[in-house]
Symmetry: C2
Subunit: 356 residues, 2 copies
């Protein structure tokens, strides 16, 4: 699939999830339907997964459901996570059992998170400059593997470990993807973000493979920042960034910060991409389920809608993807400070622009 | 030592380190001498440790030197780290072998990093509000323990691990220290920052001990943020923070971000504190050795000078510590945008204010 001329029916697994995930996913689907190129039909199948199902049935992601989801062309996900501190919801049970399990089992090794300050959008920074970069976050390794354990739990002698696993195989493939993306962008710049001066084992793998793979991309400029220094530049000079490649945990942190400085988590889209297409890729807003405002039509669906644009792009419909992005940019520019619209009104407005 | 009435000679181990560490430490010492209460004399012993010594001799921190340093009342450190990418300086050799070795061997389990927007200081944030919080970063555990390793190094089959070690013993003591600090502050608020939804083993220890120790401090309000969400609040609502307690790596990241939003790493001080006083505590600016501007009298020594204030406070000289802080605040307020002073001129100006 490389052009918008491919037609047919695309099977879409839809996992609205928890809280505002439900509301924003509805709007993303609305826009996706309008944006679909002529002859392309999305066939959505809804999977009720998340806190509600877990609390009612104890099920997080049954193997049979995972097998079904695997048979789709793409996945649209809303948000996963119950009420913070719910005693019936052990920390991590949904995150690790559902969201991260999907990312790992479907080999979403490129967690793609673009950051731009769109025209008319206010940044908390006084002088952010032109910001347009993309973070390529590794999605299947690092401290996210669920490796580690505890002894003497609940006692004064408890010892708990978390093991970050890093393989040359896993690092090389995501680094190569990041270089390829950098090469396609005007500035052709790649920044590795890590903490090589402390995490020397993992750091050595990342540094080596950036140097090695970099030889295949001689026109891409490479630099390096420690994660701590990267957070400084993110607030003092974010326009220095073009493509950032980083590990799973540093990517988690830096992309939330990037979302904040570009106008908020309500606008930050992401793709969990399997570039080898051995399994469906998954698209989701960076934000969480925000139980405090759930069901009130207060959430901004823009991040979910932009995630649908990434989905179209991944499936080869670059024009349709661009149409959504343009509609969002126009909608953002037309927003009036002080007025608030309901979640569905934002979706309607963007869908109308795409359809016009 | 609980009041400024203690007199005598205090043995100070001074480790200027690399790059601008040399210049800023000279100014910190200058101010420290002027600030010392009547009857108190600092006897500094200089230890040449860092990149230069390593490159010349292969020595990082000889055991005999560590033993000597241990016999001091406090340590003043500049910055450690050679030229980035120097092929003769393997990543981490100085950081792990010198800086972190001192923190670990001297049991600096409270890495204290205050953040304030001082009057007249510009923040990169458009509307930061009143910012005055302190990060209590755990200093002897987490992913900083040097645990982990690599196999098949340099091959496509390399696997590298980093192990985060977390003990109830280590977490409890730093959490208790953080609660005590929160209780002494007007807002009495403690925020735990972690990633309990992914790092469930370590997260469980932190969450449990914050809950348990919190029972001893019923007047302290407690909340929790994931590290990714914490970076958002740090840019959108930093005045929400009072005391943050967090692990070694998250603390590293959030304190650089905190330094950025409060006017830059040139102002951020830190104390590596052994609250049990079984070994000397160590005071250092948060910034690095900045080899690019080293030796040019361009560095701002304010962070080092404020670190000297933390040193005085730790040794029981609260009034002398406050005198330095006041002098710094006055100096900052008197700085004129667009004019630059040499490192020594800033030190002279602050020393003159302290002495007046
Ligand atoms: C919900 C959580 C497990 C997840 C992550 O840490 O990856 C989220 O923060 C994200 O960035 O997608
Ligand atoms: C130099 C480095 C090892 C150190 C750290 O990571 O702790 C520094 O960044 C700091 O914050 O003091």
């Amino acid at each position: 699939m490389t052009s918008d001329s491919n037609t047919g029916t695309l099977k879409l697994a839809v996992i609205p999830g928890d809280g505002i995930g439900q509301e924003v996913t509805a709007e993303a689907l609305k826009v996706l339907e309008v944006a679909a190129p002529a002859g392309v039909k999305f066939e959505p199948t809804r999977y009720d997964l998340g806190a509600e199902r877990y609390l009612a049935t104890g099920e997080v992601l049954p193997d049979s459901v995972l097998a079904e989801i695997r048979e789709h062309d793409a996945i649209l996900l809303g948000a996963v996570g119950g009420k913070p501190g719910d005693p019936n919801l052990p920390p991590g049970i949904l995150e690790r059992g559902l969201l991260l399990r999907l990312r790992f089992e479907l080999d979403h090794y490129v967690n793609l998170r673009p950051s731009r300050i769109f025209p008319g959008v206010a940044s908390p920074l006084a002088a952010p400059g032109e910001v347009d970069f993309v973070v390529v976050r590794e999605g299947t390794e690092g401290p996210y593997t669920g490796n580690g354990g505890s002894i003497r739990v609940g006692t004064p002698h408890e010892v708990a470990t978390e093991v970050s696993l890093n393989t040359a195989f896993g690092v090389e493939r995501v680094v190569r993807d990041a270089f390829a993306r950098a090469q396609r962008r005007p500035r052709k710049k790649l920044t590795l973000v890590h903490k090589t001066n402390v995490l020397v084992n993992a750091g050595a793998v990342w540094s080596r493979l950036v140097a090695e793979v970099g030889r295949e991309f001689p026109d891409v400029t490479v630099d390096y920042l420690h994660i701590d220094a990267a957070t400084i530049f993110m607030t003092t000079d974010p326009s220095r960034f073009d493509v950032i490649v980083t590990d799973n945990l540093f990517g988690d942190i830096i992309t939330d910060l990037a979302a904040a400085i570009t106008g908020g988590i309500g606008l930050a889209a992401s793709g969990n991409i399997n570039p080898d297409r051995t399994a469906p890729s998954m698209f989701e807003p960076v934000h969480g389920s925000a139980p405090d405002i759930a069901g009130q039509q207060k959430a901004d669906p823009t991040a979910a809608i932009l995630s649908a644009s990434l989905l179209l792009d991944h499936l080869g419909y670059a024009d349709a993807a661009a149409a959504i992005e343009t509609a969002v940019i126009d909608d953002l520019a037309a927003r009036t400070a002080g007025t608030t619209r309901r979640t569905s009104e934002v979706g309607d407005a963007i869908a109308a622009r795409v359809g016009s």
